[in-house]
């Protein structure tokens, strides 16, 4: 249910609850203002003599493994989302838990997808109390409509790791789907019929959960080499016929956008990176797998070849386009967080320059540094951006919560954060007066690239100066907004929100950045 909660105004000026799903929460204090101390959470002590000395942890079925975990009502079950929309394991896990009569479980995936729609029935019959994790599609809509029993807690990939370390979320049982594993529980994502590349999103689960179940459809003799997750953290290994639908885990080929407008935006973005002096020998960048981001990488690649410039590293999500850059010597390394296509999986398996990473190395708040802030440029998407450069990725302008945060928030700490976005989508303006939900504070967002021009955040005087004579179509964000408003018929209606909170957006440090309210229809 949506909840009527006591709300206070945080430093970003957004109204947020101080108690989230029964846990005391800290309102956002400002960028870099929250530095907690104390000791990180830790898993319980376990002793090797309690595990088979043969190293064989295989049990007969998923049910047996779940039985052995001694799951109680109200516990937290987690999983990684490397199988994306092709996951065949988690629906089975909750079907079994439902049959076992378990109630009020918290599901803590790193993300959920449309294939997890059956979880709605488990929320309706009380098996799952609520989901904390990115929700894409029908589950997002369900939570948005205020039908979920607890609040949706939306965290970044780094924030998920932080929440476990802070003891905010204690994982009781982690279920790790593994494309290849050995009986000891060592496992990897880079090979096997359900290969997904890497298993980085499940690493924190393997380290901190009380119980860890590895589920595979490709059991190999010990040792499974390479091991991305160590069997020393694993309790049980389950072998199933099929754990994933390969077509939906990674795409056979990643498709570039054909839209001339998106291609133009991608090209402008690449030209900006060059004009701003970011594209120089030994630089680094990250761009996602969306059509525009892929096209950006291709344009940038051409410019790099022409200028004889090589990158030191590129952060993935990897695709065949990044792999080509690695193989053609345009970068020394791909530091990869997830693989989006079969070429990415192959490259990770075969190329020592294609390295698997995790949210700990890349994004973690409680690490002694992370990779994200070292990146020279990141190229990200958004559902909305406002005239103060604040951005939204989780809700649409109609208030519906439809997307997860992913690594998006974490990436904002790069040296130059660029959002290439169309200025309107289907008569909905993307540049607005104020974002529906604040997910990224404007002080971290440097450049907006639209088909109608490039807006640089006035805070970035250095970028403005560097690109002043570039010939690029630099404009004020208000100017672009005005033009698009004319086109879409603004002023438009605004969604009317109730005072019921259905979800919260966490900042990367664990504080509460914004609330998502139920929309009154």
């Amino acid at each position: 249910m949506g909840q009527k909660l006591k709300l206070i105004k945080n430093k970003a000026g957004r109204m947020v609850p101080t108690i989230v799903n029964g846990v005391k929460s800290i309102p956002f204090k400002g960028i870099g203002k929250h530095s907690p101390n104390g000791v990180k959470a830790a898993p319980p002590i376990r002793t090797c003599q309690d595990f088979p000395s043969s190293g064989d942890k295989v049990v007969s079925s998923l049910k047996e493994a779940l039985d052995k975990c001694n799951i109680k009502n109200g516990m937290t079950i987690s999983n990684h989302h490397h199988f994306r929309n092709g996951d065949l394991v988690m629906n089975q896990v909750f079907d079994i838990l439902a049959k076992m009569g378990k109630k009020k479980l918290r599901w803590f995936p790193s993300a959920s997808f449309p294939c997890h729609e059956p979880m709605i029935k488990h929320m309706e019959n009380g098996v799952i109390s609520h989901i904390e994790g990115s929700m894409n599609g029908p589950l997002g809509k369900y939570a948005s409509d205020g039908k979920m029993n607890g609040l949706a807690v939306l965290r970044s990939h780094g924030g998920r790791w932080q929440s476990v370390q802070d003891g905010e979320v204690h994982i009781d049982v982690a279920v790790i789907a593994a494309p290849t594993a050995d009986p000891f529980g060592n496992c990897t994502g880079d090979r096997g019929p359900s290969a997904c590349g890497l298993l980085g999103f499940g690493l924190v689960d393997s380290l901190y959960a009380d119980k860890v179940i590895v589920v595979t459809d490709n059991l190999v003799d010990f040792p499974c080499i390479p091991w991305q997750i160590q069997g020393n953290n694993v309790d049980y290994v389950v072998v199933m016929d099929k754990i994933g639908d390969p077509d939906k885990i990674v795409s056979g080929t990643t498709l570039l956008t054909k839209s001339p407008d998106r291609l133009y935006i991608a090209e402008l973005t690449a030209k900006f990176v060059q004009a701003a002096g970011i594209m120089k020998a030994g630089f680094s960048f990250q761009s996602g797998a969306g059509g525009t981001a892929l096209a950006f990488a291709i344009y940038l690649k051409e410019m790099m070849i022409e200028a004889g410039i090589k990158a030191r590293f590129i952060r993935g999500g990897s695709t065949k386009y990044l792999v080509e850059m690695l193989e053609e010597g345009l970068t020394d390394y791909i530091l990869d967080g997830q693989t989006f296509d079969l070429e990415g999986v192959r490259s990770m398996r075969e190329n020592s320059g294609h390295v698997n990473t995790s949210p700990f190395t890349s994004y973690n708040w409680h690490g002694k540094g992370n990779f994200a802030s070292m990146l020279d440029a990141v190229v990200l998407g958004a559902t909305e951006v406002d005239i103060n450069f604040n951005a939204n990725v989780v809700t649409h302008s109609d208030g519906q919560m439809l997307h997860g945060i992913g690594g998006w928030q974490n990436c904002l700490s790069s040296k130059c954060t660029i959002l290439p976005i169309p200025s309107f989508r289907n008569r909905i303006p993307i540049i607005v007066d104020e974002v529906t939900t604040l997910v990224g504070p404007g002080e971290l967002i440097d450049v907006i690239v639209t088909e109608r021009g490039i807006a640089i955040n006035p805070r970035r005087e250095d970028l403005i100066k560097a690109t002043k004579r570039s010939g690029l179509p630099l404009r004020r964000i208000e100017e672009i907004k005005g033009e698009v408003d004319d086109l879409v018929g603004a002023p438009l209606d605004k969604p009317i929100f109730s005072d019921e909170v259905v979800g919260v957006v966490k900042w990367v440090d664990g504080t509460v950045l914004d609330s998502i309210f139920k929309v009154n229809r």
Binding site: P260, D261, L263, Y264, S397, D398, G399, N426, R427, I428, E451, R452, E483, D486, L487, G489, L492, D493, K494, P495, V519
Partner: protein, 402 residues
């Protein structure tokens, strides 16, 4: 009497509207709106629908609007189309607000290297067309619009001309042939069009009829700016009469050739080599030159074939054409690049222009370069080349100072 319904659009077309109107003699207005974006757009959908009915002086009937995310000027056009179908006597129009900033002038001799065809009933393709910087956009009412969409397209194009910024591109409209074309003119000429493309012109008389109609409409609506004309020659007859057509109106700024219909007319297959149309193309270039206007080549229709396009443009340039039609924004850049002058052409042109300047300053009647006399057409060509080089950034606009 059974109630008859009048419709415009297609319920499944994205970024568009499907509008249905059932006229009535009493009972007032009933508006039903179906939209997936009601949360944001309901008020505007209602007020726009209501405004259109008021503009058109409709007092009774049921209007159903199925919104698939189209532009509001499209909604107005589709409502006007169904109302005019239901009440053929309606003379009122439902015009969108004229965005003054989308108005800019054109010029007789401006570049017309690329002209991007946009189907007149597909506004979504028009929205960002200007961003890709074609020299011209053609909002097409002729071949790309099916007969059932002709009436709506005419109004959509009219409204688009008033509403959309094409960022400096010349605003062209290709009208239909014959009577339908004259009807197109009535809707279009008063509203911010630069140039009318007249399809399948075969003789001077046809073109004059269009020109006369335009002058009458201009007088009626008080339009001061000229409306330029570009006849398209698409038949053997048209080609053979190209000179009289090119000279038929002082408003002609270019003549174009359309090869799909031309090759069909002379009974041959259109090939990539284009030997079958060499005569016709050369004829068009010569007619245009002798009338002092531009010659524009046909479209290259294989959007995926970048190399084919480039060699086709090179050939067009060699034959003497000034521009080429395109059907996709990605064709614009290759066309501009291939029409750009070569380095040696620029260097030659610079020398001629400097010699011309010198002759002007010295008050000499004859321009000469070294021992060679330069004829006026060569000077004109050189000035054009320099201008083209500056526009394609191959030459600094202050080159004379450097």
């Amino acid at each position: 009497m059974p109630k008859k319904n009048f419709t415009s659009g297609n319920p499944t077309t994205k970024s568009d509207f499907f509008v249905e109107f059932v006229p009535a003699n009493s009972g007032g207005i009933n508006i039903d709106i179906q939209s997936k974006t009601k949360v944001l757009h309901l008020s505007k959908l209602e007020s726009t629908s209501q405004k259109s009915l008021t503009d058109l002086k409709i007092k009774h009937g049921k209007l159903s609007v199925f919104d698939n995310g189209g532009q509001y000027f499209v909604l107005q056009a589709r409502i006007e189309a169904v109302i005019k179908a239901a009440h053929p006597g309606t003379i009122n129009e439902s015009l969108p607000l004229f965005n003054k900033h989308v108005h800019y002038k054109s010029a007789r001799d401006r570049f017309r290297r690329s002209r991007l065809y946009l189907p007149g009933n597909q506004a979504k393709l028009m929205l960002n067309a200007g961003i890709h910087k074609p020299d011209a956009v053609i909002l097409d009412l002729e071949d790309s619009v099916t007969p059932s969409e002709k009436d709506a397209a005419r109004l959509i194009v009219r409204n688009a001309l008033m509403t959309l910024d094409f960022f400096g591109a010349e605003r062209m409209v290709r009208i239909n042939q014959g009577k339908l074309g004259l009807k197109d003119l009535e809707a279009i000429v008063p509203h911010n069009v630069h140039l009318i493309l007249v399809p399948k012109v075969e003789n001077a008389k046809q073109l004059k009829a269009v020109d006369d109609k335009i002058q009458n409409i201009r007088k009626d609506c008080g339009r001061k700016e000229p409306v330029y004309l570009m006849p398209i020659l698409e038949s053997a007859k048209g080609i053979l009469n190209s000179l009289e057509i090119a000279k038929a109106s002082k408003n002609n700024v270019a003549i174009a050739i359309g090869l799909e219909d031309y090759t069909a007319d002379i009974g041959v297959q259109r090939t990539n080599q284009g030997r079958e149309s060499l005569f016709a193309r050369s004829q068009v270039v010569n007619a245009a030159r002798s009338a002092g206007i531009q010659a524009i080549d046909t479209v290259f229709s294989d959007v995926g074939d970048d190399e084919g396009l480039r060699s086709s443009v090179q050939e067009a340039k060699e034959l003497g054409f000034d521009g080429k039609g395109c059907i996709h924004p990605r064709q614009i850049r290759p066309i501009h690049e291939e029409f750009a002058p070569t380095i040696s052409e620029i260097e030659k042109a610079k020398k001629v222009v400097l010699a011309f300047d010198e002759a002007e300053t010295k008050g000499l009647g004859v321009v000469s370069l070294g021992s060679k006399m330069i004829d006026p057409p060569v000077v004109k060509r050189a000035l054009h080349t320099v201008e083209l080089a500056i526009s394609t950034k191959l030459l600094n606009k202050n080159w004379k100072k450097n």
